[in-house]
């Protein structure tokens, strides 16, 4: 009994405090399941024919030479050829001073750089580091740890896990209905929630539990991973490189060794040095643990220097756990399952927040206004800002310098606006309804905007040519827009009841 009471307090407060952060992580992670599809949507300047003629006219050697013409002394080059979900080239380099990675999306037909966009990767980054680099990683890690605590304490305090397993009573009074929803989405999705929080922590374990690497590798995590993954590394000699062998010929050799598999990322380490090494990673997307079968060649002679051995023991477990989190193993089916289960996680968080609020609305409590404002600012603000990002993607001028940064600014600007509006209206009712209506308008407007500005990518073009990856985004926006519209209509314009109930409750207490 005492344990339950202790756990109830832990669940209430340990759950409340990180829940807005967790909502951001869950929402962004759910969208990131379809990051490549969003990326394609956000690149309307991609030639449509690219999908049909998957074979690019560019060669690996041309892309490498293009990169070297931009950065002849680059520390490393990274190239990814077109793939079914990503019908364009990625080409990037780490500058000589090992500064920030510079990457470019290249048109598969002309080879020209595509217009800059943050793309679907924006949501992926928001998911794991809040677009804030290493500090963000630690914040997300803390949130995940809190989530595990909330899940376990939630199981302990839930008295009727099996009795209420199938129970959801939307017609019941506020608190009852929200508690049902919180329990339902928490309990039915429990295996997923536990797995996703645990494996999420496991991915960055070397960051969160650094003692082992600190001791054995003097803090050099890269050396640790190099050993664990049996990767090859060759130090620079600071002598100029001999003429390079053809990357396309080396790739052909790698593909015969793999038995015809497709390549993932291809890298050239210190390309201007005599000790330059070319590495080909296999794109394996059929097992949970993604063994890349990396082949390392001498960049000049083309001699095979090293072949990665299959992961063993602890590292295999690590890649299995991280693979389970990243959902790249079962195609669209798994991505879709993860999207739905992730949204169920969002629903659990919203349910929990509403339980907290309605409990205190009934009997009064401190922090109510603050929690309500945060609910509106995060639960309403983030989806609205995400829609705003897609508007920014279409409406910002194509030639804008730092276009990606401008898009990010649109996203955070829109979010700040919504947050400010919610704070300004914190004592008034009907915020939810207005935000739902706005969300509906924004979501329904996007396919229309797509039709007006980039007709080649709109539903009228993508559906007839059976381009489902592109059409699905527009269709999903239409569904979301209609659903939000319906919910906004169903919500009464103003509900004065809770306020009166609260006054009554306070009156009784006095």
């Amino acid at each position: 009994m005492n344990l339950r009471r202790a756990m109830a307090g832990l669940h209430t407060w340990g759950g409340l405090l990180p829940s807005w952060l967790l909502f951001v992580i869950f929402f962004a992670g759910s969208l990131a399941c379809f990051d490549k599809e969003l990326e394609r949507w956000m690149r309307p300047d991609l030639p449509v024919a690219a999908e049909a003629t998957a074979a690019s006219s560019l060669s690996l050697d041309q892309v490498r030479d293009w990169l070297l013409s931009k950065a002849p002394d680059a520390h490393a080059l990274y190239i990814h050829g077109p793939a079914p979900r990503q019908p364009f080239w990625w080409a990037g380099y780490v500058p000589a001073d090992e500064g920030e990675f510079q990457s470019f999306a290249l048109d598969p037909v002309s080879g020209a750089p595509l217009q800059e966009t943050v793309g679907g990767a924006f949501f992926f980054s928001l998911h794991y580091d809040l677009n804030a680099g290493t500090p963000g990683l630690y914040i997300v890690g803390m949130a995940a740890m809190f989530m595990l605590v909330a899940l376990v304490s939630g199981i302990i305090i839930h008295r009727r896990i099996f009795k209420d397993f199938f129970t959801l009573r939307p017609g019941a009074n506020g608190q009852r209905a929200w508690l049902d929803a919180h329990n339902l989405f928490g309990v039915t999705g429990l295996p997923f929630h536990l797995m996703i929080a645990y494996t999420g922590l496991a991915i960055f374990v070397s960051l969160y539990m650094p003692a082992g690497v600190q001791t054995a590798y003097r803090g050099d995590a890269m050396a640790f991973y190099g050993d664990a993954m049996s990767l090859f590394h060759r130090e620079e000699t600071h002598r100029p490189a001999a003429p390079a062998a053809s990357l396309d010929a080396l790739l052909a050799d790698a593909q015969t060794r793999w038995g015809g598999a497709q390549p993932g990322w291809i890298s050239v380490e210190h390309p201007a040095d005599e000790a330059a090494v070319v590495e080909f990673r296999r794109e394996g997307r059929t097992r949970v643990s993604d063994y890349q079968w990396t082949l390392a060649y001498d960049a000049a002679s083309g001699e095979l220097l090293h072949e990665q051995t299959p992961y063993a023991g602890g590292y295999y477990v690590y890649t299995w756990l991280s693979g389970l989190h990243m959902a790249q193993f079962g195609g669209h089916f798994v991505r879709f399952c993860y999207l739905l289960l992730g949204l169920a996680g969002c629903a659990m968080l919203v349910g929990g927040l509403r339980v907290w609020v309605s409990k205190r609305e009934a009997r009064g409590g401190r922090g109510l206004v603050l929690v309500r404002a945060l609910n509106g600012a995060v639960v309403g603000g983030l989806p609205l800002a995400s829609l705003a990002l897609l508007y920014g993607n279409r409406l910002l001028p194509a030639q804008l310098v730092h276009r990606g940064r401008a898009e990010t600014l649109v996203f955070f600007g829109a979010w700040a606006l919504v947050a400010a509006w919610v704070v300004w209206r914190r004592h008034r009712l009907g915020n939810d309804r207005r935000m739902l209506a706005l969300g509906s308008l924004l979501a329904l407007g996007l396919p229309l905007l797509n039709l007006l500005l980039t007709p080649g990518n709109s539903l009228l073009a993508s559906l007839p040519r059976g381009d489902w990856a592109l059409a699905a985004i527009d269709l999903a926006l239409l569904v979301v827009g209609l659903a939000c519209g319906l919910l906004a209509r169903r919500r009464p314009a103003a509900v004065p009841a809770p306020r009166r109930a609260r006054r009554d409750a306070l009156g009784e207490g006095a």
Binding site: F166, R169, T188, V288, F333
Partner: protein, 106 residues
């Protein structure tokens, strides 16, 4: 995968009907103890069938994961149907089975 989902849905529907409250809601009256036991017993082979189908389609490693995801989603689908469109809960099972049969024929 649709067939596996149909059987997962049937299994959770059987488990759900084995409970007084939900049995009363979908049929008339409380179930007899025997009926409850039977419903629970039926759920097991249905779940096993769903798992077997997943493993057949996707091998053991992925099959088990697919099955777990399908079970969670089937439960969610059932409860959301029960909450807003209670009368559709039973016909939905039939619809799922028929449509999965059709995809096998087609």
């Amino acid at each position: 995968m649709l067939t596996a989902f149909a059987f997962a849905y049937l299994a959770v529907l059987a488990l759900c009907l084995a409970m007084n409250r939900h049995h009363k809601a979908l049929f008339t009256g409380e179930p007899s103890p025997l009926r409850r036991q039977l419903l629970r017993l039926v759920a097991l082979p249905l779940m096993a069938l769903s798992l077997a189908l997943c493993i057949r389609d996707a091998d053991v490693e992925l099959g088990i994961l697919f099955w777990l995801a399908l079970l969670m989603l089937a439960t969610l689908a059932l409860v959301l149907t029960l909450a807003w469109r209670q009368r559709w809960a039973m016909p939905l099972a039939g619809l799922l089975l028929v449509s999965s049969a059709l995809t096998h024929l087609g």
